[in-house]
């Protein structure tokens, strides 16, 4: 392991992504990526009686599925690192409480998948673990209840708003020498706050943080944007993506190979999702479902995965605080 530049860690060991698992809700199952997810739920309640319980059961099933797909037992897992959007991380903790594995709960808003994978990779690099489950989850209804209005309220959403993805994405990281996608480096983001206060325009709040992490990553590793086949942010959405592309040009970088998970996961024209998808599960399930499979098929060989987070709370919004953005980059190659 080597610290490189300002914020980047380059791994020396083989840190493979052994397996992934993705479970999504019905709306994501109607979207363009529907064929890539392991399980598409027909019922957004997942058979439970609250949305919060639904999220937790999705988390548990995803973790179990990833372990099963890798032909491992839950006892083989050294750490579970998971994050979500609910207060006190209950989405993850309540899902994991019956799994009896060492648990590290993280909060990094919608960038949770980047942080959990990054932390998992450092555990493996330092030989403190052999198998780590990295996960992130969110649930549309539970997030609406906590952050916005009751679902049945007849209100309009502005065009800049995004739709929280229901689901959970899991990556099973392991020291493995086989020909699987490997985490080569991570760049842990710092908070960038450009003074955006509108909670219905989170893409704009997060875009500067995403660009900051991406540029730092290039500088730390001394590489150019075209080193990667794909640079993909978590949930900037249509508006945030336009902003980051314009900002990057101003900074002297041309991101030709750029996409955003929040744009890929929904069909803008038919699904009434406004600026796109968001939430911890947006980057999580898009990676675990779509991107990982594209890497296995070798359509994408070098990927810079940059989940993005808006670190706001319902209280901070009411108290007129601006929205701090963060983004964590994970460089994956096969």
């Amino acid at each position: 392991m080597a610290n490189i530049g300002k914020q980047t860690i380059k791994f020396k060991k083989n840190i493979s992504i052994l397996e992934t698992a993705s479970i999504v809700g019905p709306k994501e199952g109607d979207g363009p990526l529907k064929n890539y997810f392991d399980i598409v739920l027909e019922d957004i309640m997942a058979g439970e009686n609250t949305w919060e319980k639904a999220e937790s059961i999705i988390v548990r099933k995803s973790l179990e599925l990833a372990t099963k797909k890798a032909k491992l037992a839950m006892t083989d897992i050294d750490y579970i690192i998971a994050g979500d959007l609910l207060n006190q991380n209950t989405g993850s903790t309540f899902g994991i409480r019956d799994l009896h594995r060492p648990f590290i709960g993280i909060f990094s808003a919608c960038s949770a998948m980047g942080l959990s994978m990054g932390l998992g990779a450092t555990f493996l690099e330092s030989n403190f673990a052999k198998n780590v489950l990295a996960s992130s989850s969110s649930h549309f209804c539970a997030a609406e209840k906590q952050f916005r209005f009751p679902l049945e309220l007849g209100s309009q959403r502005p065009p800049t708003s995004t739709t929280t993805v229901t689901g959970c994405g899991v990556a099973l990281l392991s020291n493995d020498n086989s020909d699987l996608p490997k985490i080569k480096a991570i760049t842990t983001g710092k908070i960038v706050d450009m003074g955006i206060t509108d909670p219905f325009n989170m893409g704009a709040a997060m875009a500067p943080a995403a660009l900051d992490t991406i540029i730092t990553h290039f500088n730390d590793l001394n590489i150019e944007p075209d080193y990667y086949d794909l640079i993909i942010t978590g949930d900037l959405g249509h508006i945030g993506s336009e902003i980051i592309l314009t900002l990057s040009k101003k900074e002297g970088y041309l991101l030709k190979n750029y996409k955003d998970c929040g744009i890929l996961i929904y069909d803008k024209d038919t699904q009434d999702t406004h600026s796109g998808g968001s939430g911890c599960a947006c980057a999580g399930t898009t990676f675990a479902g779509y991107l990982y499979k594209k890497m296995i098929e070798k359509e994408i060989k070098k990927l810079l995965f940059v989940p993005t987070g808006a670190l706001l709370s319902p209280l901070s919004v009411l108290q007129k605080e601006s929205i701090p953005g963060i983004a964590h980059a994970v460089a994956i190659e096969i």
């Binding site: 679902l151 309220l153 007849g154 314009t246 900074e251």
Partner: protein, 148 residues
Amino acid sequence: MTQMSKKEYEHMVKIFSPNSPVLTNCIKAFFVGGCICVFGELISKYLIYLGISEDVKSLLTVIILIFCGVCLTGFNIYSKFGRFAGAGSMIPITGFANAIASSAIEFKKEGYIIGIGTKLFSLAGPVLAYGVFSSFVVGIIYYISKII
């Protein structure tokens, strides 16, 4: 990210962020809100036709409209309606009923006292508080104008 001030960034974000379609929203709100009022008027006329007195008629019309708003909320129709009509369906009394009923449905899982009881007016509360307050202010002005 070194070259831009917060002011400049705010300006840039404004350029990229589309505004809500105000004109179409206003037209939709005007027609839907108007239709709800016409519906209320029809109820009112029908009640008069049935021979109900003026005072009771107004009260009954309001109750029927609230009942309709709550029912449509329960059947998951009012939210779709509101997504189309915006203020047109939010401002009339059916919208007030929707605000209360949607909160009741949303927080039922937290129990009848702390859940529904405390959250029932989380959206409708400001309307009540400032409604009562403004009628108090208007009352005072009316009283003073009478004395003068």
